[in-house]
Amino acid sequence: MTDTQKCKEYFPDATGGASGCAVKLHGRDVNVFYDDKQVLFDVNLAIGEKMVTALIGPSGCGKSTFLRCFNRMNETISSCRVAGRVELDGFNVRDIDVVELRARVGMVFQKPNPFPKSIYENVAYGPRIHGLAGTSAELDDIVTSSLERAGLLEEVHNRMNELGTGLSGGQQQRLCIARAIAVNPEVILMDEPCSALDPIATARIEELIDDLCQNYTIVIVTHSMQQAARVSQRTVFFNLGKLVEEGDTTQIFTNPHDKQTQDYITGRFG
């Protein structure tokens, strides 16, 4: 099956940004439990390559949990159990070594969490772990280009040895994005990356997401519907652990098929 055919199959309603893409991530019948409590019910979702997919929905609807299935971060929570199949490029993520998987699928968290190390060391952390740089010059290159692509280089190029935790909130979040990029991932998962930031820092991150989707597949969980509308090509609406509706962002926001989706985006609940 060609990419375009795949695309037709999974994104029948696709227009504009989603056309001509391949499926990068695929969740099939994903059920997630915390102890005995089920938080996700039979979620099926394909996510296209090199585009931005936004997951929206009220708090506690399971969208973050779903996001964390893709890089197996749910495994760090001992009470969490994931059933079903989650694929990266058609391979079950459980068959991929977790170190390799997380190098290919990077993640940015809700609260900026730079390590208490220098700016340089924060970005160099991933490449060092994965042995991506043979020499220190190569490492310097990776660090500089990652900061560049995260739009942070200009602000920090003369203070690479200062602590990453000393930056402002928005800069810290861009540092975390640079840190994720430095490992050269294929996918970047973003879990409400702007919820702790002010509008200006948020705008910078959104610009950055726009740039990054040229090269990376981005999945972003957000509470801000304006943000979903601004940055994403596809939008997926979750409610009460179920995938309610997915579609092109313009379609979801202008002409939702489902009543729940309509209520949510018009602000009638959630």
């Binding site: 971060m73 997380r102 968290f109 390590f115």
Partner: protein
């Protein structure tokens, strides 16, 4: 009698509490909102106004009355004790109260010539004391009553009772911390004074840099003994040797068990393992001491001899090993706390980059917890330096200047104990040396704690 007066104060305070509450409510017709403070604060205020003066009066009266009773006896019997020395007068005064108690319980009994004066004095004393106590009860009652009336009068709806009770609590807390601080300062002062007395006999440099320690002095002029040399270096070296051995055991094991507990162990295991570890640190050190002396030291000797090493029956190694075991819970519990305090978001961030658990621990968590771990280790060193019982029992008393862990050594604390146990006079350098050693110990632990504090402060600023 005394207890009646004591009880009276409490009863009055009790009455004061409830009357003030009732009065406050009565004054506003039961509408609590019209009061400045909740009714119970008026109650507390009046109760305090009774308790404080009541007890102050009680203790003042007690101390003053015993002073005047003595004066009265001295005055009354001045002709009969005129030929007493001052020591004898003091002894006489000390015996009177006890003697009067005895007569009251057992009657006069057989009286000798010598006890005649004591008997007369004690009869007078008992009588005076009875009067004093009656007066005490009566006056305490009166004082409390006056305070009660006065304080109750102060209770008005606009009185700021809550603020007054709060300021009273401020004073109580401030006084408690003042007691803690002043006691430490007092102890330090007494150490300083005695140490200076020592240093006027033995020069400082001889004490700090001398290589021989034999504090035995002749107790009597005709006794033959060494003249006493006070070079404390062997003690310092012994202390350092045992501390180093202990830390070599405690640091890796304590730290690794802390890492295991915080990041690797299941929640269930951690839930019971951590309290158990903390209980371990509550074992009295004397128990560790005989464990060291009876089990570890012979074992070390046995294996040492198998290897053809000359091992003393008591050795620095035995004491250091057991002391290390003693400190493990201390190190691991404190380190576990700081490691757990490293935010989960850092662990997640590292894991999301593909780091393994071990990489995360080594590269992120340990550096982030660094200040806390250093702090824990320095506190542990402080404990090791100050530990006495284990060394007494397992390492011996011989002040050898050696770095051989298989030899007998002694430490600063052990020597302090040895110098001050038994009958000692406080004017010979042998006893005073204990104060000089204590001063050194104090400064070492002081500097350790200060360093710990600075490390924590410096790195805490950097981390959050």
């Amino acid at each position: 009698m005394t207890s009646v007066a004591f009880l009276a104060v409490f009863i009055w305070a009790f009455i004061g509490y409830y009357s003030a509450r009732a009065r406050a409510l009565y004054l506003v017709g039961g509408v609590v909102r019209d009061l400045n403070s909740l009714p119970r604060y008026y109650g507390f205020f009046v109760a305090l106004c009774i308790l404080l003066p009541g007890f102050l009066f009680f203790f003042l009266w007690k101390s003053l009355s015993s002073f005047f009773l003595e004066k009265r006896i001295l005055f009354f019997f001045s002709d009969r004790i005129s030929d007493f020395s001052s020591l004898e007068v003091n002894a006489f005064l000390r015996n009177v109260p006890g003697f009067s108690d005895r007569i009251q319980s057992a009657g006069r009994g057989p009286i000798s010539e010598k006890t005649d004066l004591l008997f007369d004095a004690s009869v007078l004393y008992a009588h005076d004391q009875w009067l004093c106590n009656i007066a005490l009860v009566f006056l305490t009652f009166l004082v409390c009553f006056l305070c009660f009336m006065r304080a109750l009068h102060l209770v008005t709806p606009c009185m700021r009772a809550r603020a007054r009770v709060e300021s009273f609590i401020w004073w109580v807390l401030a006084c408690s911390s003042a007691v803690a601080v002043l006691t430490s300062i007092g102890i330090l002062m007494s150490l300083l004074v005695q140490a200076f007395r020592f240093f006027s006999i033995v020069p400082v440099h001889e004490f700090l840099f001398g290589l021989h320690w034999s504090p035995q002095l002749s107790m009597r002029p005709d006794q033959f003994a060494g003249s006493g040399t006070f070079g404390a270096v062997p003690l310092f070296v012994g202390t350092a040797l045992i501390t180093v051995i202990a830390m070599c055991i405690a640091t890796p094991i304590g730290l690794m068990s802390a890492i295991y507990l915080s990041d690797y162990a299941s929640l269930g295991f951690r839930a019971w393992a951590k309290p158990v570890l903390e209980i371990l640190s509550g074992i009295p050190t004397v128990v560790y001491g005989f464990f060291a002396a009876l089990t570890v030291a012979p074992l070390i000797r046995y294996y040492g001899e198998l290897l053809g090493l000359g091992v003393a029956a008591e050795s620095a190694l035995a004491a250091g090993l057991v002391m290390g075991i003693m400190i493990i819970p201390f190190v691991s519990s404190l380190s576990d706390d700081v490691i757990c305090a490293v935010p989960q978001s850092l662990r997640d961030g590292s894991a999301a980059l593909g780091a393994t658990k071990t990489e995360t621990v080594i590269k992120v968590i340990l550096p982030a917890a660094f200040s806390g771990i250093v702090n824990a280790l320095l506190l542990a060193v402080g404990r090791a330096v100050g530990e006495t019982m284990i060394v007494v029992m397992a390492a011996g008393l011989a002040p050898n200047l050696t770095l051989n862990p298989l030899d007998v050594v002694t430490t600063v604390t052990v020597q302090i104990m040895a110098l001050l146990s038994g009958d000692q006079e406080f004017d010979n350098p042998g006893t005073l040396a204990a104060f000089a050693l204590s001063l050194v110990l104090f400064f070492v632990t002081f500097i350790l704690n200060l360093t710990a504090l600075r490390v924590v402060r410096k790195y805490r600023e950097r981390y959050d």
